[in-house]
């Protein structure tokens, strides 16, 4: 400013007059000038950062991701972040769908819809196999609240077949209906709603995204620890091994995915085989004896061997011996079959040590998306135990995976920002 220049000229002239005592003054003036410049640069940076984070959609997505990231990584919301939280109202709903009742847990901010951009974003979360109604899984509720506190409307979908630890294409109908409900929720922008499919809910989520009722509305699909092809997934069970970068490594699945696959295959087997297969793979269920197996049909025996993983050399033969109906349903429940019908960008997240669904499934999914030039992103982690953040992780591990998680969060939150 002019005044400042006058001041500095005054200072300079006083330096000239002061004689010997003024030797230190030019140095002090230089330091002061440097301080002025540094302060101005800091002000410009603060202005830029503040403007970016509040005024641009990319910046608002970044702000949201920065607020949500610590909550996700620490599996609970840090106290200082509660200051910026929008208050949230929790409600439950049930809607009839093709395969039964679909249950919805809704987390919606109670504050008025922001004037800019005039609508809110929304996220539909399909949490996988099991019953997720209410506050069953703290980490899921934590994620729901973290998203809703930043102004998004979140709906958890508990689909009827997934709730019974089984898989069905029919579940996609409930997901489509829940999506339509969220898209028409007061204040929510119809084109700003995406779906997060977790674990076994991934295929039904992808199938829902191909439904003509919502296909062009889905803003994104995010899949956490899901599979791409049900047959290769089943093959991993049979082999008890994965092929990673051309090298075979042992892989021992958790009981829950084995139980789900047993429930799924059992519906197409003779009653005796189906019942015993389900019992054998229910956690804590009685192991089958040789006489039990002697009464099995060839298809039932093939299914048992595949899930038991005791005939790795016969894996492909055992898959071929499954009932044609099962193989058809496996194909129908594989995103690999209908990948080209999905319009939304797809974000894949998978832990490298996942013992429920092999992480190679997400790699294959990403490779297929790259081949057809479909927008996608893949992030691999080491902090998840299948789909939940592992407890007792060191700060180094958390911070190591934070950039990947932040990148995906940023991409996923952009349409709603």
């Amino acid at each position: 400013m002019e005044n400042e220049a006058q001041e500095e000229t005054k200072e300079a002239s006083s330096v000239l007059v002061a004689g010997n005592a003024a030797h230190a003054k030019p140095k002090r003036t230089r330091i002061r000038r440097l301080g002025n410049i540094v302060a101005r640069v800091v002000l410009v940076l603060l202005f830029g950062v503040g403007f970016f984070l509040s005024m641009l959609p990319q910046g608002r997505a970044t702000a949201r991701a920065l607020l949500i990231l610590p909550t996700v990584l620490l599996a609970s919301e840090p106290a200082p972040l509660t200051l910026v939280n929008d208050p949230v109202r929790y409600t439950q709903m049930a809607i009839p769908s093709r395969d039964g009742t679909t249950y919805l847990d809704i987390y919606a901010p109670t504050t008025p819809t922001p004037l800019i951009p005039g609508t809110r974003g929304g996220m539909l979360i399909v949490p996988g196999v099991g019953d997720y109604r209410g506050n069953a899984v703290p980490q899921l509720v934590n994620l729901d609240l973290a998203l809703a506190h930043t102004g998004l409307v979140v709906i958890n979908v508990t689909a009827p077949t997934l709730r019974k630890y089984n898989l069905s294409t029919q579940d996609s109908d409930g997901i489509v209906q829940a999506f339509q409900l969220l898209a028409h929720w007061p204040g929510v922008g119809a084109d700003r709603v995406g779906i997060l499919g977790i674990s076994g809910a991934g295929p039904a989520t992808c199938l829902a995204a191909t439904d003509p009722r919502i296909r062009d509305q889905v803003a994104f699909i995010a899949l956490l620890g899901s599979y791409f092809d049900a047959t290769t997934f089943l093959r991993a069970f049979g082999l008890r091994a994965l092929t990673v970068d051309g090298r075979t490594q042992p892989w021992h699945p958790q009981p829950t995915p084995l139980m789900v696959m047993a429930n799924f295959i059992a519906t197409a087997l003779p009653h005796y085989d189906g019942t015993l297969l389900v019992h054998a793979f229910t956690p804590g269920g009685p192991p089958l004896t040789a006489s039990d197996l002697a009464h099995f049909s060839p298809a039932g025996l093939a299914a048992y061997r595949l899930l038991k993983g005791d005939e790795p050399g016969q894996t492909d033969a055992n898959i071929a011996a499954l009932p044609p109906e099962v193989r058809k349903q496996l194909a129908e429940l594989s995103p690999s079959t209908f990948i080209d019908k999905i319009h939304a960008p797809i974000y894949l997240l998978h832990d490298r040590n996942d013992t429920s669904i092999p992480f190679t499934e997400s790699r294959e999914f990403a490779a297929a998306l790259a081949r057809i030039h479909h927008p996608y992103d893949l992030a691999e982690f080491g902090i998840f135990e299948h789909v939940e953040i592992r407890s007792g992780l060191g700060l180094g591990q958390l911070l190591g995976d934070a950039p990947n998680l932040f990148r995906i969060l940023n991409e996923v939150l952009l349409p709603g920002s």
Partner: protein, 113 residues
């Protein structure tokens, strides 16, 4: 919201102190400027934060309070200085007109930083 408002006030004061360090204020404000600029920063941040809650949502209110505070501490002194400068020029222009009506005057230059 009270704690958040206090946070914005604090952000504004800090921005004002930074503006003081950057010497963005007119020297004519004298010693009072060390208090006035942080005050302007605090007020700007508070207005920015509340405006953002209404316009964009609470989650981005603090970044908005930040940039509005910077905007305030830079713009308000500039406007104040520009206003005073314009008034002085106008007054001197009128005085010169009344004393020597035949003198031709050029247009007022805009205030420069």
């Amino acid at each position: 919201m009270l704690i958040l408002s206090l946070l914005w006030l604090l952000v504004g004061i800090l921005v004002g102190l930074l503006a003081n360090a950057a010497r963005l204020q007119p020297a004519s404000w004298g010693r009072q400027r060390w208090l006035v600029i942080p005050g302007i920063g605090a007020l700007s941040a508070l207005i920015g934060g509340w405006l953002c809650v209404l316009l964009l949502g609470r989650y981005v209110a603090t970044p908005m309070a930040l940039w509005i505070a910077v905007f305030g501490v830079v713009l308000v002194p500039w406007l104040r200085y520009g206003w005073a400068y314009a008034l002085t020029r106008r007054r001197s222009h009128q005085e010169s007109k009344s004393t020597s009506p035949t003198t031709m005057t050029s247009g007022d230059p805009s205030p420069s930083q």
